[in-house]
């Protein structure tokens, strides 16, 4: 086995520069990668996975440096090698696929010219041959019009296509190793499938070794032979994929796996005669002259959660903007407890504004970084309930306790001094301060690491039961929908495609789009992608490409 060892990293320590000091961010990592092996590096943000991936290429970003350890590629010590030796390896034997293809393609050159650059400068093959090869690769990767697509400029091609073109570019010299740095994170689920299948297929065909970096467990389960779990620059655990999924050893790994098992007890059925807290009736809306919502209707009842799902651009956030009054609908109306609300929030009275609150996706931008927690929560308390002085302080402290933060410690803090999850909790407390009946949760967990997201979901569920709150839960993550929704509304291109109770929605038959959406969400089962492709009648992507031409 030892001769086909491709990458050998021992005791790798990396430092990053901040506040004019070097701080260690990777604390001694060992890594062995064999020829043809795909290793998944998984961890939350700040785990150091991208840094390690780049270090395996002998590369560090500006402001980082390798302080200790060895990085060997096929017996060559990359730390000791000269810059020109390293350059000879990069692109030719080691290639890189970046997270954002749109930013990583040079806007000034055609895609195919960037593709042929590495083979040309490394003298692997002449440009004409490399161009032909590029077209072959585009075809294998199921890009539309493989003969001509390469002659376009990057901004003329969609994100999912660019990501595949970049994978093709990484393949241009048939490298021994490719580093995939979150290649599908920026994509929608339905697009992600195509890119994942393409990557897996091509890596298998050429027997290329790969390091696949991601924060998504289900994705890594499809792609990797072995998985290494990282936490804050340390290795937690490493094993082959099936072992890791079925029998994790460390508590941290187990907790990562457990996230998707959160299932609150079901709630009683809706009382049919009850007036919904919010009722959206046939609303249409447009930005300027561009129509974005078409005849959307749904109801949200007291104490229940309606999940609105769809990909980016489906209109789910626009629907929320209509409800809050930021975007007055052009047609239809919104009823609050049966009474119509003015379309524009400026025309609503204080009590109407109080009734509907909002929790945002990015806790960073949702809290004013220069305002203390006491004021962030205290202001709506005072504004809506008129409490001042000690009464106001007591109320803010009670709210902090409700969201499980110690008032003594957090009362006077500023948002930048909090972690992402804590900020999101403050956002929840600010919404609760208004004592609302209804809260819109706009992708509240999607910017958070999974463990933290789990905590937020549990908190929201508890608060709902305690306070009888109605939630509109906007998300693109179907796992979240499964765990917390009572009713589901599926949206596409500004229209409601399908809606109903959760149990019905997750049971066939589905609307074709719902079906596509549901089936595209990666599952933890390592055979999921294979099975899915099989079900969709695609055994091998190369064949599919031929068939679809």
């Amino acid at each position: 086995m030892s001769d086909d060892l491709l990458v050998k990293i021992r005791g790798l320590k990396i430092e990053g520069r901040s506040d004019d000091k070097w701080n260690e961010i990777v604390h001694g990592i060992d890594l062995d990668l064999h020829r043809g092996e795909v290793m998944g590096l998984i961890g939350e943000s700040g785990a150091g996975k991208s840094t390690i991936g780049l270090a395996a290429m002998g590369f560090t970003r500006d402001g980082c440096r390798i302080s200790e350890g060895t990085v060997e590629f096929d017996g060559i010590d990359l730390r000791k090698a000269s810059a020109s030796t390293r350059r000879d390896l990069l692109g030719k034997r080691i290639a890189y696929v970046a997270q954002s293809a749109a930013a990583s393609f040079n806007p000034a050159h055609r895609i195919i010219d960037q593709h042929t650059e590495a083979p040309m400068i490394h003298k692997v093959m002449p440009v004409s041959e490399s161009q032909q090869d590029a077209k072959d690769l585009y075809e294998r990767l199921r890009l539309p019009d493989p003969e001509n697509i390469g002659f376009r400029y990057p901004h003329q091609v969609s994100g999912g296509q660019l990501q595949r073109a970049m994978t093709a570019m990484a393949m241009s010299c048939r490298p021994d190793l490719i580093i995939f740095d979150e290649p599908t994170t920026a994509l929608d689920v339905t697009t992600q499938i195509e890119v994942l299948a393409a990557i897996r297929d091509i890596v298998e065909q050429f027997n290329t070794a790969a390091i696949y970096i991601t924060h998504d467990l289900a994705v890594v389960a499809q792609m990797a032979d072995t998985i290494k779990v990282l936490l804050k620059g340390d290795e937690v655990e490493a094993a082959d994929t099936r072992t890791m999924l079925s029998d994790p050893k460390e508590d941290y790994t187990k907790s990562l796996w457990a996230v998707r098992s959160f299932a609150p007890p079901p709630k009683p059925a809706i009382i049919a005669s009850e007036t919904p807290v919010i009722s959206v009736k046939n609303i249409s809306a447009s930005y300027g002259i561009v129509p974005v919502l078409f005849d959307v209707s749904f109801d949200i009842h007291k104490g229940r959660t309606v999940a609105v799902v769809g990909e980016s651009g489906s209109g789910k956030s626009t629907a929320a903007r209509c409800i809050t009054g930021l975007l007055p609908p052009s047609k239809g109306e919104i009823l609050s407890n049966g009474i119509p609300l003015p379309g524009n929030y400026r025309k609503r009275n204080r009590d109407q504004l109080r009734q509907a609150q909002m929790i945002y996706q990015m806790a960073d931008t949702a809290l004013n970084p220069k305002v203390r927690i006491s004021e962030i929560i205290g202001r709506p308390v005072q504004f809506y309930t008129g409490l001042t002085g000690t009464a106001r302080r007591k109320r803010v402290e009670a709210l902090l306790e409700q969201i499980e933060l110690d008032p003594a410690e957090y009362y006077n803090r500023l948002p930048p001094e909090l972690s992402g999850g804590q900020k999101q909790r403050i956002g929840i407390a600010r919404a609760l301060a208004a004592e609302p009946a209804f809260i819109i949760c706009d992708e509240v967990t999607s910017a958070l690491d999974q463990l933290v997201a789990e905590g937020i979901l549990r908190l929201l569920d508890r608060l709902q039961r305690e306070l009888d709150l109605a939630y509109m839960f906007i998300t693109h993550d179907l796992a979240t929908v499964r765990s917390i929704a009572d009713e589901v509304v599926v949206m596409k291109s500004g229209k409601v495609v399908e809606s109903g109770p959760k149990d019905e929605m997750f049971r066939p038959p589905h609307h074709p789009y719902t079906d596509l959406l549901l089936s595209s969400v990666p599952e933890m089962d390592p055979d999921w992608l294979t099975n899915l492709l099989h079900e969709r009648g695609v055994e091998n992507l190369g064949d599919a490409a031929a068939a679809s031409m």
Partner: protein, 322 residues
């Protein structure tokens, strides 16, 4: 790809139209500002000894009895054909006084631009490539100092060292029409150098910032990760994208020259538009002030317009529409 160029053409046309609009608005401001003057031209000309009869005569002579709109269009129409009216100060035609001076100012600005543009862009790129090196820090301190100095300080320092202590160039720029190119260049050198020092500093700092910004792009990292040599990264991957920002920087700073020219011409008694402008402001010779303002503003607008159009043309995203 079928609509190649059509969008681009429309974009450029739109920008040109906008430039024209700006020019019209600026001419309105320049004309309108003078209208706000308490009293009017006629009283200004006659000063203390204005009798109502004399005022009336002059008003009629200058057409001041016409409505504002008529006067604006006749002024603008005159300006477009090079007729800026008669100077209050010496009763000579404004165009006649401005003409030769405009050529002199243009010559001065051209000499300054020829030295400063290559220098600034070159040093700026080097400073960006070797950022945080001694060279970069030195360039940073030097340029910051020269930006912070008033033009006349730079001018007198140059006079002190290059005219008084080492008589290389004359300290007064006695330029007239009969001079041969060499002598003219020699006499223009000190004001041109002064302008160069000030403008180069600005231009170099902006070039450096633009290049550093560019080098941080993911596609530059991608090129390095493909094993592309540093020289090729610069030439093939950075420069095509750097063109637009650099063109912008150059045009912006050439526009800046216009302001600098006024003070520098006064220091060196250089017979250009700037000096005439300042003298006319002192004696409130309004037709000349208006004409100078219009010329300076139009040049400034045209330079900015050129920058915009060139950077539209050099942007690959706009050159190759979807």
């Amino acid at each position: 790809m079928s609509g190649f160029g059509a969008d681009l053409f429309r974009l450029v046309l739109k920008r040109l139209g906008f430039g024209l609009l700006t020019l019209i608005v600026v001419s309105l401001i320049i004309f309108g500002a003078v209208e706000l003057l308490p009293g009017d031209f006629a009283e200004e000309i006659l000063g203390q000894g204005a009798t109502p009869e004399a005022v009336a005569v002059i008003r009629e002579e200058l057409g001041l009895d016409q409505p504002v709109v008529t006067r604006y269009f006749s002024w603008l129409g005159g300006a477009l054909t090079g007729d800026f009216g008669i100077s209050f100060g010496n009763q000579r035609s404004v165009a006649e006084q401005l003409g030769p001076r405009f050529a002199n100012t243009l010559f001065l600005a051209l000499v300054a631009a020829c030295i400063s543009v290559p220098l600034a862009v070159g040093v700026g790129i080097l400073a960006a490539l070797y950022r945080n090196s001694i060279f970069d820090r030195l360039a940073n301190i030097t340029t910051l100092t020269s930006i912070s100095s008033p033009e006349f300080f730079v001018a007198y320092i140059l006079i002190l060292f290059l005219a008084v202590m080492n008589p290389i160039f004359p300290s007064l720029s006695n330029v007239s029409s009969g001079l041969d190119f060499g002598t003219r260049l020699e006499r223009t050198m000190l004001p041109a150098l002064t302008l160069t020092l000030v403008v180069t500093a600005h231009m170099m700092r902006m070039t450096r910032a633009a290049i550093i910004n560019l080098l941080a792009s993911p596609y530059i990292e991608m090129a390095r990760l493909k094993g592309v040599s540093p020289a090729r990264v610069i030439v093939r991957h950075a420069l095509p994208n750097a063109l637009a920002p650099i063109i912008n920087v150059i045009a912006l700073n050439l526009a800046y020259l216009i302001t600098g020219v006024v003070v520098v011409e006064v220091v060196f008694v250089y017979p250009g538009v700037g000096q005439l402008f300042v003298d006319s402001v002192k004696i409130r010779d309004i037709p000349i002030v208006q004409a100078c303002c219009l010329i300076f503003a139009a040049t400034y607008i045209l330079l900015n317009l050129t920058a915009d159009v060139l950077s539209i043309l050099s942007n690959p995203r706009l050159r190759h529409p979807k």
